[in-house]
């Protein structure tokens, strides 16, 4: 009996001695994995951020230092910023960018919210097809419709106007805005809206007092994405504007030169052009992440 007990104890001890290192290994491997993932995350973040970092750095170099062998050690100068500001009025371009990006985003949201509502809550046989068709317009290379739009704008006097550019950006972003809002609305339980309807809410009240407050993070992130896309758009802004409505993308394009050095000035202009949207993105990143992951984990 006692022998058997001893054996059992020995066996238990043996198991314990085997289990101990296994838990340690598991913990170590989990830690390693976490460290590895963190390192991977940082590497990707650094890779993405490096061009922006290099651009900011180049803006503070002289033209000859900018084109010389890459170096992190140099004496910083503001001469490119001074030259850039002396040549063109940054604020005029920045104002156009702000007006057009915000205007087109508000217009796109105003059109997309009712459209996404109807597709999410009152779908028909053709809803899926319509959604896909809307997205397919993004597959067309913009240059393919440049001449017809240019002629249209010429005839209605919209060339080089903020209104014209706002219309184009609204239409350009509309498919993405509708798709995103549709996805967010789809995730909302229908019962909540039905409860509102039972309490006698009209469609407008349903949208304004139930749908919009509940999906606000999603709407905010969609709006932010639309602002960023409009801010960075260069094809239409370069082709449809000349001087009065030209936004910051046209401002950047004016500092590239076929004859003579321009890298430092171009970098300074680009840094000034992205600075507002970078700060804006920084301030709103919480909403962006919240919105983009909205409904991802149920």
């Amino acid at each position: 009996m006692s022998t058997a007990k001893t054996k059992t104890l020995a066996a238990t001890d043996g198991q314990a001695s085997v289990a101990q290192p296994s838990r340690t290994t598991w913990l170590t491997s989990a830690r390693t994995r976490r460290l590895g993932l963190t390192a991977l995350g940082w590497t990707i973040a650094c890779l993405i951020f490096f061009p922006i970092f290099w651009m900011v750095l180049t803006g503070f170099k002289t033209e000859s230092a900018a084109i010389a062998d890459p170096s992190l050690i140099f004496s910083p100068t503001l001469e490119s910023y001074i030259a850039v500001q002396a040549r063109a009025d940054y604020f005029k371009f920045a104002l156009n960018s702000v007006v057009v990006a915000l205007g087109s985003t508000l217009a796109a949201l105003a059109l997309a919210i009712p459209s996404a509502y109807s597709m999410a809550f009152l779908p028909t046989r053709r809803t899926k097809g319509t959604l896909l068709w809307m997205l397919s317009t993004k597959m067309l290379p913009p240059v393919g419709v440049l001449v017809p739009i240019y002629l249209l704008f010429r005839d209605v006097g919209l060339l080089d106007t903020r209104t014209g550019l706002t219309i184009v950006y609204t239409l350009m972003n509309l498919p993405i805005v509708v798709w995103m809002l549709y996805t967010f609305f789809k995730d909302l339980p229908k019962d909540i809206l039905e409860a509102g309807r039972m309490d006698g809410a009209s469609t407008l009240q349903e949208v304004c007092f139930l749908l919009l407050p509940l999906t606000l993070p999603g709407i905010a992130s969609t709006g932010l994405l639309s602002v960023i896309l409009s801010w960075n758009e260069a094809f239409w802004s370069l082709n449809l504007t000349s001087s009065k409505a030209a936004p910051l993308t046209a401002y950047i394009a004016s500092f590239s030169s076929p004859e003579g050095l321009f890298w430092a000035k171009l970098s300074a202009a680009s840094t000034m052009a992205i600075a507002p949207i970078l700060v804006f993105g920084w301030l709103t990143q919480k909403q962006m992440v919240r919105g983009l992951t909205f409904g991802a984990v149920k």
Partner: protein, 439 residues
């Protein structure tokens, strides 16, 4: 009582009238590229507006390729967005033929049209009528490091040949000290490597097309030229030569990394400026080298100011372009910015000016090169096109860029010279067939 009431009213009316008059200013939109000479022109806006208080200038400055595409869209659709356009000798005859540009046949007498260099004038004319006024002109020539040549005991003859250039490049190539024997354009593009390569083909006795518009890119002359170019630049060029265009080579040469460089005469002012160049005091120049024939061995290009037919402010636009290309403007720039900064290659009077001759010892070379370049007779055998470093047809932009890419791949060693030229020949034939030049 009545008078006291009438007085403020009259004052108000006068103020409104004055305001209306102030607003009656004609605002003209000038589209241009971001070259140093144009930046100076932009900086002299106030000067122009003081002289012409009824005209206000609005600038649109864009990168060269963007500007070209933007202007083409506008002028072809009659958009009327621009009143003055900066275009080159390639576009002017093509656009003029389509009626997109206003003919400049009624210029004021004091503009002194006859003072414009004849070859530049011809390049900007269509049917003997000027359709754009030259803002600055350029040809190509050879720059070299006088100190390195002196050390090696090499004397440059009055007219160097490409064979000699190859020998000198071999002698002076010193990668350990970061000095390449020669720097040449390698970056693909019809206005980049093909501008240089076309002049090389011309002087080696080749041509782009025969008289019936058949491409000749696989001809022995092209094979020899491209073989020579690839060997020369591959053996004695700087590292990564296939991505070097005008700007990159300018930076390399001005930092002392090239013993020779054959490129635009407009670089001379920059290389001669000690603030911009480390080799300003060791700079030598010679005419562009030749091989079989001197014909077409150096190019002719001019950036010019034109008025699109769609502009509604023709009169004000003409006032501006005649001011910006006048003798007085050249003097104004000389006095305010320094004589090496005056727009070169447009007027005989610039080269007769003592101040300019003193400040720019390269002036005579440039003048001679520009005078000597003949876009109507640029190849050994006759050809059907106008242009030295380009072919004056609308299809050339795409042909030149495509051929430029295949030649750049031969330079990097991705394909052989023969393969590259065969590919280029086939692609050019297809484009010419589609465009209706060939059956």
């Amino acid at each position: 009582m009545k008078l006291t009431r009438a007085l403020p009213l009259a004052t108000l009316a006068a103020a409104v009238a004055a305001a209306c008059q102030a607003q009656a200013q004609t605002e003209i939109t000038v589209a241009t590229v971001n070259n140093n000479d144009m930046v100076i022109m932009q900086s002299l806006t106030e000067e122009f507006e003081t002289q012409h208080p009824d005209i206000e200038l609005d600038w649109v400055v864009l990168e060269e390729n963007v500007l070209r595409q933007r202007l083409t869209t506008d002028v072809a659709t009659g958009g009327g967005q621009f009143d003055v356009m900066t275009i080159g000798t390639y576009e002017v005859p093509i656009w003029a033929e389509r009626g997109w540009l206003t003919p400049l046949d009624d210029l004021p007498a004091d503009y002194a049209v006859d003072d414009l260099l004849q070859s530049v004038r011809d390049g900007l004319s269509h049917g003997d009528t000027l359709h754009a006024l030259p803002f600055y002109g350029e040809s190509s020539m050879m720059y070299y490091r006088q100190d390195l040549f002196d050390e090696a005991g090499i004397e440059i003859p009055e007219q160097p040949s490409w064979e000699e250039v190859r020998d000198w490049a071999g002698q002076l190539h010193d990668p350990d000290n970061e000095v390449a024997g020669i720097c040449l354009r390698g970056k693909p593009g019809w206005g980049e490597n093909m501008a240089f390569v076309s002049t090389l083909v011309n002087t080696f006795g080749g041509r782009w097309f025969d008289e019936a518009w058949n491409p000749e890119l696989d001809s022995p002359a092209w094979q020899e030229t491209i073989g020579f170019y690839v060997e020369l630049l591959g053996n004695y060029g700087p590292p990564g030569a296939s991505s070097n265009g005008f700007n990159e080579n300018l930076a390399l040469f001005s930092r002392g990394n090239c013993a020779m460089w054959v490129d635009a005469t407009s670089a001379a002012g920059k290389l001669y400026d000690p603030d911009e160049s480390d080799v300003a005091d060791r700079l030598g120049f010679a005419p562009a080298p030749v091989a079989e024939t001197p014909k077409g061995s150096h190019w002719l290009w001019s950036w010019a100011l034109a008025i699109p037919a769609s502009s509604e402010k023709q009169e004000a636009a003409e006032t501006f372009i005649t001011w910006a290309t006048s003798r007085e403007y050249v003097e104004l720039v000389g006095e305010t910015e320094g004589w090496t900064s005056v727009p070169p290659g447009t007027r005989e009077s610039t080269y007769a000016n003592e101040n300019y001759q003193q400040a720019a010892p390269f002036a005579d070379f440039v003048l001679e090169a520009i005078r000597d370049a003949d876009p109507t007779d640029s190849t050994l055998e006759p050809n059907p096109y106008v242009g030295v470093q380009f072919v004056g047809i609308p299809e050339f932009q795409s042909i030149g860029t495509q051929v430029g890419q295949t030649i750049a791949s031969a330079l990097t060693g991705d394909v052989s010279v023969e393969q590259a030229l065969q590919t280029a020949q086939r692609a050019t034939e297809r484009t010419m067939q589609r465009a209706g030049y060939l059956d």
